[in-house]
Symmetry: C2
């Protein structure tokens, strides 16, 4: 095991399961947990807003760090409860007439499309290759002849190991003057998310291994002026527009915890993490390829740590997930079709290890899958 | 000191300030802080969703407890990030045509009125008595001759010691068929909030002394069917409507902490807490009435623990608040006019002690206010 990976593991409380479920929520470090608990206690001792003033420097650095990860200036980042809350804030602020079309691939996260419909927007399906990745040449043609009002890409899918070419799409969208929004919930802490998109949103709790209850929205500076935000008088009227999208009654201790988690991630080196997570994906898929009754659905070399298996012998995936957990102590996720209803034809079993995954772990999973 | 009040204090980490700022955020108990931290660690050890399943009974009891406090069945309660998020969810789900008028008193919380305007609603001013309390006879006439689409009352004001007669208003609104919404952010854990209103929302972090980052919305059962909610397919389609307003990517550990805080509050006996907090208000106002340069603005017998002082010698209230904190270790809040712009004419200094406030504390504040 690489030394930094050994340290990554040692920084966390011992796992009570074989945790192959980072795409649901990552395992926070002891330093992250301690930062949250320490801040919460400080709130009780000195008052919540005095405590918040005391960590102003930490929160400022968090904005800088997350801004850098998402490719925007610190003032372009707003923190909220979740990636969902961030998308809702984005939909509420971006000037987009009802009836507008939002371009998505068939593997789009289902709840996002449902939210688009709730806001009165239609989805326009973009062409992909056989693996589900956006076809960039087809995108160029679409942007030329029948452009949607916005392109929305979920950079790393939730239901399987599918990574979209966001940087390349951003170049083409920018050339066409079509805004690109990116759901980076599964991407941040996993792959490069400073991609040149116009808006990016994500969550603390997955690959960054920060606390639950913290998410973030980043908007590129050229788009700030057009945002339609509620400038609450109590906040004053002199802030950059994106700051009015931040929630102020919030899990502040969680933001302090995320700040610690992000610092650890940066110290590990994002490029090294990305490379290692892609390697984990490349280890996982062949290790599970020959398990009877299951078939990997992703490209073997998909550059991420998420792998999905399709049952080929009529198994109930939710029951299999429960069996793996209760009988074998292995944590995975059963993905229902509603996660990607335009692409999925049945439930999938999702495996999403972190950097510390070993071949032995995967062999243990393979044996457990058999029965 | 009453025995239960002594215990209330002993259950908390020692305060590093004289904390007279519950209306900003209360002081959590050690048990509450521990419940949050223990759950967050469990998330890291067994996976966040396994941890959540393990506390299903705690979360169910929380819904029951908060439902009982707000006067609705457990299925009528949805948890979210904050009272603000709860109001936003309510505004998004309640069938109210754009242009509708919402009846409010002049002491209404300013950001609420700004949110109403953002959603396209106008405010209709309701008549009050000289202290700022809703005039119930005038309300009856208004409901008869020129009813707003909704009446919205902030049960306990944020900026001063003002309590609205919500139970009496609820009877009259119901008789007139006009929905009553109640902002209980300062009321829950403070006064009786099971008032018969159609919708009530509040927060964990103030008088209940739960964690930051948790709020709740309660809707009375007769109003459920008319709610327009996004029934996300991933959640299934068989839940009571209000449940679709709950945030699922959330500070779950905070909800576990709130469950602990609510249990402590119920064990203390809400009626005893309400009586004691009203007593604290009745102690505070005369204790500060003769301080040179400051004038209490509230009715001396206002049945709550919040007191506001108006500077009468041209003091900068924000600077005074800072001076009290830095020079005297006394925590208060400087309330800007935006908190209640239809009523306030200048900033106020707010004092909001908890049940453990003593006459010695108030005398210390009185001396510090002088200089």
């Amino acid at each position: 095991m690489l030394e930094w990976v050994t340290e990554w593991t040692a920084r966390r409380p011992p796992a009570q399961v074989l945790h192959l479920d980072t795409a649901a929520a990552g395992r926070s470090s002891l330093a992250t947990l301690d930062a949250v608990a320490t801040h919460a206690r400080l709130e009780a001792e000195v008052g919540a807003y005095v405590a918040q003033e005391r960590v102003a420097g930490v929160l400022e650095r968090l904005s800088t760090d997350v801004g850098a990860l998402l490719g925007v200036p610190p003032a372009g980042v707003a923190f909220g409860e979740s990636a969902t809350a961030a998308l809702t804030a984005l939909l509420g602020a971006w000037p987009l007439p009802a009836g507008s079309r939002i371009g998505v691939v068939p593997g789009e996260w289902g709840p996002n499309a449902e939210r688009f419909a709730r806001h009165g927007y239609a989805t326009q399906l973009l062409t992909t290759d056989a693996t589900g990745r956006l076809d960039l040449e087809a995108l160029e043609r679409t942007l030329d002849v029948d452009p949607p009002a916005v392109v929305h890409l979920t950079q790393v899918a939730s239901h399987r190991g599918l990574v979209q070419p966001v940087e390349e799409a951003a170049l083409r969208c920018r050339a066409a003057g079509v805004p690109l929004w990116v759901d980076a919930a599964q991407a941040v802490g996993h792959v490069n998310t400073a991609t040149g998109a116009d808006a990016v949103y994500g969550t603390s709790r997955k690959w960054l291994a920060g606390p639950r209850g913290v998410g973030f929205l980043a908007v590129a500076e050229p788009r700030w002026a057009a945002l339609d935000v509620l400038r609450l008088r109590m906040l004053g009227d002199d802030h950059p527009p994106v700051q009015y999208l931040e929630s102020h009654e919030a899990h502040l201790a969680g933001r302090v915890g995320l700040a610690a988690a992000v610092r650890e991630y940066l110290a590990d080196d994002p490029a090294a993490v990305t490379a290692r997570l892609a390697e984990v994906g490349r280890l996982t898929r062949p290790a599970l390829a020959d398990v009877p009754g299951w078939a990997p659905v992703d490209a073997m070399d998909s550059p991420c740590a998420i792998t999905a298996l399709r049952p080929t012998a009529g198994q109930d995936v939710a029951a299999e997930r429960t069996r793996l957990l209760l009988d074998h102590g292995i944590l995975t996720t059963a993905c229902v079709v509603a996660r990607a209803p335009l692409e999925m034809t049945g439930p999938l079993l999702r495996i999403s290890p972190q950097v510390d995954c070993t071949l032995e772990d995967l062999e243990r999973l393979a044996r457990a899958l058999v029965g």
